[in-house]
């Protein structure tokens, strides 16, 4: 067994027992990156010097008997959407190539304070817009389970790096499924917290009412520990929540006996891969064996979620991305002859096709004469979708469904057909519209060896409940022990 095969909690135990140093773990991570990343291409850049300096500082704290946190010294990767002071941050876009943030995102600061060495920045769909990593302006990442396939998106680099054991864990962001879908496609755990649970300050904005950062790890316990570090009220984010932060690891082994778990019938529809359906149905039976009661529930407005999302998210994005104008940071078109051309040529040259498509769609939905018909109407349907969940949670403790309708698809397969790509998110995006926490946990493999994920959705701020439900399944099926054939 290599050092990089350890989970975050296993490594933390060895660091605590002083069997391993953080510098050794960080060097093991860097060596693994050098070994497999030419195939996986998860990293946009590696910060070897910064990571090793943080590792040595961690070892000094451990030696002095004063670790900064349970995870002090555990190396981590970051999606390239998180601002890192002094380390280039691009959001996967040409328009931010060379941008070196003058400050850290709140979650980056919290990770540093907790002592986690940050080994580098992970690839992603440009501005988090995509489900396959193929809209990255630089290159697509590859799925460690089959390198001809996508690791999903938009946090695909984060998922691929964790699955390939290049890092012990990572942070991603989730606007419509961008943590959970890549987790499902790579045999990893991905948790999207409740909207407002984790600060968005310093996280490059896509759709501000939907975006939420969260952990991407190999195990449920790792996700709980990482969430513990980053879940914090933040005065720098006006939408951050004051809700009390519980101990996410305390009740992890509590099991599911006596729980009522809802199975939303609208999440088992045609278009789902039969092997995905079989794996998820088998997981549902496991929950029954473990003592939970399955309840058939209906979320009748589910079919409207995709349309609602693809009006609201682009509308918010078109407004957020207005800041990329070539004036204060990032790219400026060299051939601009006047200020107007500074804006239009910079944006033409700096944004990729998917980002332009969404800016166009959002601008249209917000434009004079169409606002009521599109944007306002979508906000009202968002209310109906949210109310569906509120009603369901009067009956059940959590909901179970597939995370993605299909396993990892081939790179290139859906690039020219935006609508078929958008369908990848049908089971994940209602959760963002309703602001709920959602988690994906590995629940098996297809015959071809592609991972399948089970989604658990819960009440607002019930991350602890979701983690406990996911852990009950993981305890019976430790798929995370399997390593990708790299």
């Amino acid at each position: 067994m290599q050092l990089t095969d350890l989970t975050m909690m296993e490594l933390a135990a060895k660091l605590s027992a002083r069997e391993v140093s953080s510098e050794e773990a960080t060097r093991a991570s860097l060596a693994r990156i050098q070994q497999v990343d030419p195939k996986v291409r998860a990293f946009l850049r590696v910060d070897e010097a910064g990571a090793l300096a943080a590792a040595r500082a961690s070892d000094a704290r451990r030696a002095a008997g004063s670790p900064a946190s349970v995870l002090d010294g555990v190396p981590l990767g970051l999606k390239d959407l998180f601002l890192t002071e002094g380390v280039e941050t691009t959001a996967g876009s040409r328009i931010l190539e060379g941008f070196v943030p003058p400050y850290d995102a709140t979650v980056v600061r919290l990770l540093k304070e907790a002592g986690l060495p940050l080994v580098g920045k992970l690839n992603m769909d440009e501005f988090a817009m995509g489900s396959s990593n193929e809209s990255s302006a630089f290159f697509p990442s590859h799925n460690p389970w089959d390198v001809s396939r996508t690791p999903g998106g938009s946090s695909g680099g984060s998922a691929a790096a964790v699955a390939a054991r290049e890092v012990f864990g990572a942070l991603g962001t989730d606007t419509g499924g961008s943590i959970r879908q890549p987790a499902a496609l790579t045999n990893t755990v991905g948790l999207k917290p409740t909207y407002g649970r984790v600060s968005r300050y310093g996280v490059i904005a896509f759709a501000s009412s939907l975006d939420q950062p969260g952990p991407m790890t190999r195990t449920v316990a790792d996700a709980a520990a990482l969430l513990q570090v980053i879940a914090r009220p933040d005065a720098q984010d006006a939408t951050s929540s004051d809700a009390p932060v519980p101990d996410y690891s305390a009740d992890l082994e509590g099991g599911v006996r006596g729980l009522k778990l809802g199975v939303p019938r609208e999440y088992f529809t045609e278009g789902m891969d039969p092997e995905v359906e079989a794996a998820v149905r088998e997981a549902l039976r496991e929950y029954e064996r473990l003592g939970a009661t399955l309840v058939d529930v209906s979320l009748p407005h589910t079919k409207y979620a995709l349309a609602t999302y693809y009006l609201l998210a682009p509308a918010e994005a078109s407004s957020n991305l207005a800041r990329y104008d070539g004036v204060r940071f990032g790219l400026r078109a060299q051939d601009a002859r006047n200020l107007r051309e500074v804006y239009t040529l910079t944006r033409e040259q700096g944004f990729g096709a998917e980002v332009k498509r969404r800016i166009m769609l959002g601008t249209y939905a917000l434009s004079s004469g169409y606002y009521d018909a599109y944007y306002l109407r979508a906000q009202k349907v968002r209310t109906l979708i949210r109310e569906d969940f509120t009603r369901a949670f009067q009956q059940v403790d959590a909901l179970l469904s597939p995370t993605s309708p299909v396993p990892a698809f081939k790179l290139g397969e859906k690039v020219e057909d935006p609508l078929s790509m958008y369908l990848m998110d049908i089971y994940t995006l209602p959760c963002n519209l309703a602001g709920l926490p959602g988690l994906s946990v590995p629940c098996g493999f297809t015959k071809a060896g592609l991972p399948v994920g089970l989604q658990v959705l819960g009440r607002p701020f019930d991350e602890a409940g979701l983690l406990r439900i996911a852990r009950a399944y993981e305890r019976e099926h430790d798929y995370f022990r399997r390593s990708a054939p790299l």
Binding site: V100, P102, Y103, T194, Y195, G196, S209, A235, D237, A238, T239, S240, K303, Y304, A307, T308, Y310, L311, S318, A322, D325, G326, V327, R328, F329, G330, R332, N338, L339, E341, Y343, T344, L345, R347, E348, F351, K356, R357, M360, T363, Y364, S367, A373, Y374, L376, R377, A378, Q379, K380, V381, R382, T383, L384, R386, P418, L419, Y422, L433, G435, L436
Partner: protein, 95 residues
């Protein structure tokens, strides 16, 4: 709903994008397809429904209005494509 080439050009102007002729064509087709797909929302009766802007937010987090340190000019300007003294420089806007 089919978008016209003229509408696509108008939206591009609003969004400050200068699209190539090829992009104008492609977006006309692709955005029309997406708008067709979102057309289903028109079937719902939402007359009496309140809009949701933030799902779990009841009120914005407020803080005391006190002066705090902000980024010094050299840090704020560090990523500027062009600068003049302590300002961002842009092409002349008044001829």
């Amino acid at each position: 709903m089919a978008l016209t080439l003229e509408q696509v050009r108008h939206v591009a102007t609003l969004a400050r994008l200068s699209l190539t002729p090829d992009e104008e064509q492609r977006f006309t087709t692709q955005l029309s397809a997406v708008l067709d797909a979102v057309e289903q929302l028109q079937a719902l009766d939402v007359e009496a429904v309140e809009p949701t802007s933030h799902a779990t937010l009841t009120s914005s987090r407020l803080r005391e209005d006190v002066t705090r340190p902000s980024l010094p000019p050299e840090k704020s300007l560090a990523n500027a494509p062009a600068k003049a003294g302590t300002s961002f420089a842009v092409p002349r806007i008044i001829e």
